[in-house]
């Protein structure tokens, strides 16, 4: 009986405990004052987060009932929708007041978000562990770099070719990989990532080896260059929106349902009429397609590519974004990408401790919310109820 009570107390004070833990971590780094501030902010934030998670569904249902009563189909009153619009408006206005440093970071975060959305198709939807996703990113980036520098193609002419190439390489990796499961699949994809990097590193005559390719031109539209950060920002923003909406639409169709079914129970999925091999192939190809957009965006922004940008650690980083955000959740994955790109920048103040803080944060996350920031069934369910309208 007594034990039960303590557990209850812990459950109720969990947000405060997490906040306390984080602020204690900050104590030696930032002093008492800022730790205290962090504690207050975090506990409020976590409390609302928890409250929303618990009551979000019933709130949403109530709103749906309200909508039915009024008899109109679409009234934008739902809370997540408002939050989403606010976020979009905020992001659209960002270049008007942000300095270049911040824009730079957000652009990078956007590119990573596209990658994370792509990897999410393979890992989050279909449940196939892919540790070599960076290979597709590298293929996309190098394809644009070479087409631009050696063939003189512009960004928009090269883009379809890059997308085609990464999709094709997704197919090529999938064919041998689909005979494998779980850990073995992970190892094969890891090997694929390394092979691509080593080829780029050693094929001197084509890729210029470890020196990389420089002098890549920035994209332009109607003759005006998008080189300036605030213009490039919008290009990345639009690409991210495109990626998000296309992936979302495919997710909520027969194809997306088939992927999730394969993740949940492959044998059962096949007895429901899903050609599992073919759909896993689709997942690989469709997932790597987005690297064909993110790669050229990265190459055109940096004006330079080298194999150094496409190491195994990049794959891990993108995988972390997917897992942190919540496997299978689209908004979550974008959020995960932004958190993992922006947080290290924010933590620059604590210098050498930042990787420590970040990794401890990740560990804590996995303990307290193993399903990721926005993952889990609750979200799926909410979405389902919302969609019925």
């Amino acid at each position: 009986m007594r034990q039960f009570k303590t557990r209850d107390v812990i459950r109720k004070t969990k947000p405060a405990l997490i906040a306390l833990w984080f602020s204690l971590l900050f104590l030696p780094l930032k002093g008492v004052k800022s730790s205290l501030l962090l504690f207050v902010l975090l506990s409020i934030l976590l409390f609302f987060f928890k409250f929303f998670l618990r009551h979000g569904t019933s709130l949403q249902e109530r709103i749906c009932v309200l909508r039915e009563r009024i008899g109109k189909k679409r009234i934008p009153v739902s809370i997540p929708l408002i939050a989403r619009y606010l976020a979009i408006v905020g992001l659209l206005c960002l270049p008007f007041f942000a300095e270049n440093y911040l824009l730079d970071v957000v652009i990078l975060a956007g590119i990573y978000a596209i990658l994370a959305l792509g990897l999410n198709v393979v890992v989050g939807f279909t449940g196939l562990l892919n540790l070599g996703y960076v290979a597709f990113y590298a293929i996309g980036a190098y394809a644009y770099a070479l087409l631009n520098v050696k063939c003189g193609l512009g960004f928009w002419q090269a883009l379809p070719i890059c997308i085609g190439l990464t999709t094709l390489s997704g197919f090529i990796l999938a064919v041998p990989a689909l005979r494998l499961k779980g850990d073995y699949l992970a190892i094969v994809t890891l090997g694929f990532g390394e092979i691509v990097r080593l080829i780029l590193n050693n094929w001197d005559s084509l890729t210029n080896g470890p020196n990389g390719i420089s002098g890549i031109s920035a994209p332009s539209i109607f003759g005006s260059s998008l080189e300036a950060l605030n213009r490039y920002y919008y290009l990345v923003f639009l690409s991210l929106v495109l990626t998000y909406s296309v992936v979302k639409r495919v997710r909520f169709s027969k194809i997306g349902r088939a992927w999730i079914a394969i993740r949940e129970d492959e044998i059962c999925a096949s007895t429901m009429g899903i050609n599992t091999t073919r759909y896993k192939l689709y997942a690989f190809a469709f997932g790597s397609l987005w690297a064909g957009i993110a790669g050229p965006l990265f190459a055109a922004k940096m004006r330079f590519v080298s194999p150094e940008s496409f190491t195994f650690m990049e794959s891990v980083l993108i995988l972390c974004m997917v897992i942190l955000g919540g496997q299978g959740s689209l908004t979550g994955v974008v959020l995960g990408a932004f958190v993992l790109v922006i947080l290290p920048e924010v933590l620059r103040g604590v210098q050498s401790y930042r990787m420590l803080v970040l990794s401890i944060g990740l560990i804590a996350m996995m303990i307290f919310r193993p399903q990721g920031l926005l993952g889990g069934i609750g979200r799926e369910r909410m979405r389902e109820v919302g969609e019925k309208q």
Binding site: V246, R249, V250, S253, K254, I255, G256, R257, A258, I260, A261, E264, D265, I267, C268, A269, S270, T271, M272, G273, I274, N275, T276, Y282, F286, I377, E380, R381, E384, V385, K388
Partner: protein, 251 residues
């Protein structure tokens, strides 16, 4: 006349003879029970018929076409659906989505349609949704449509499995222990569902241990023991068959 005909079906797992030379025919529109002690090869038989495992020897004809060697998704297309002994739902999907998945073959939309969200796509999705709700109605789970399937009670999970199999629009339903773990009331409800399925024109083969169910609804009973078919006949005949009493029913 005969919907399913199995001839000389044999399945060996290495040295283990799970099924040995089984032959039987199943009449269209009938309810057939397969009984036998644990390890008699009943579930293996289902696995062979649905293409999950490949049979070592023998052939199976389904409405005149051979199905041996086909992959599971092609067998479903021909019209055989099944449920599983150890419930295999798509646990993290909602109840409704579980049914939507099994309508996979009926939805024609591809990638482009899914992205464009044209009128065709939307109406197809709407039809699938409405159909799914009908199937849920059939087993009495309509209210649970937006709930994740793992949060259903045990009996409801079994019924969802039946609805999901039904949503593939099969002519033949293979039910693997549909009443296992159910209380008497749930069992009798499930029996009613099975009888209603028969009225809809479905042919049903079930593996069952509950003799009340077996004797109550089946027209033919097939008995397996150690991978061998030892008897086949109407429930009355089977009840008094000495071999069956010795191997399975007991006194």
């Amino acid at each position: 006349m005969y919907l399913l005909e199995v001839r000389g079906l044999t399945k060996h797992f290495g040295g283990i003879k799970a099924i040995e030379d089984a032959s039987f025919k199943i009449k269209e529109g009938s309810i057939v029970s397969i009984i036998g002690p644990n390890g008699a090869g009943k579930t293996t038989l289902f696995n062979c018929l649905t293409g999950i495992t490949r049979m070592t020897r023998g052939v199976a004809y389904f409405s005149g076409r051979t199905i041996s060697g086909l992959p599971p998704y092609d067998i479903v297309r021909l019209g055989i659906a099944r449920t599983f002994q150890n419930i295999r739902l798509f646990r993290e999907m909602t109840v409704l989505d579980n049914i939507l998945v099994s309508q996979h073959l009926k939805i024609k939309a591809g990638f482009i349609d899914a992205v464009m969200r044209g009128r065709g796509f939307l109406s197809e999705e709407r039809t699938a949704r409405e159909k799914a709700l009908e199937y849920l109605d059939f087993v009495g789970l309509r209210e649970q449509a937006p709930v994740p399937s793992l949060s259903l009670s045990y009996g409801d999970q079994r019924r969802l499995e039946i609805a999901r199999a039904l949503a593939t629009d099969p002519a033949l339903l293979l039910l693997d222990e549909p009443t296992a773990g159910m209380n008497p009331q749930e069992t009798s409800e499930t029996m009613k569902i099975i009888l209603r399925l028969q009225k809809m024109g479905k042919t049903i083969v079930l593996i069952e241990h509950d003799m009340k169910v077996v004797m109550g609804i089946s027209e033919t009973v097939i008995v397996f023991d150690h991978g061998v078919k030892i008897a086949e006949g109407s429930p009355e005949v089977i009840k008094n068959e000495p071999m069956v009493i010795k191997a399975y029913l007991g006194r």
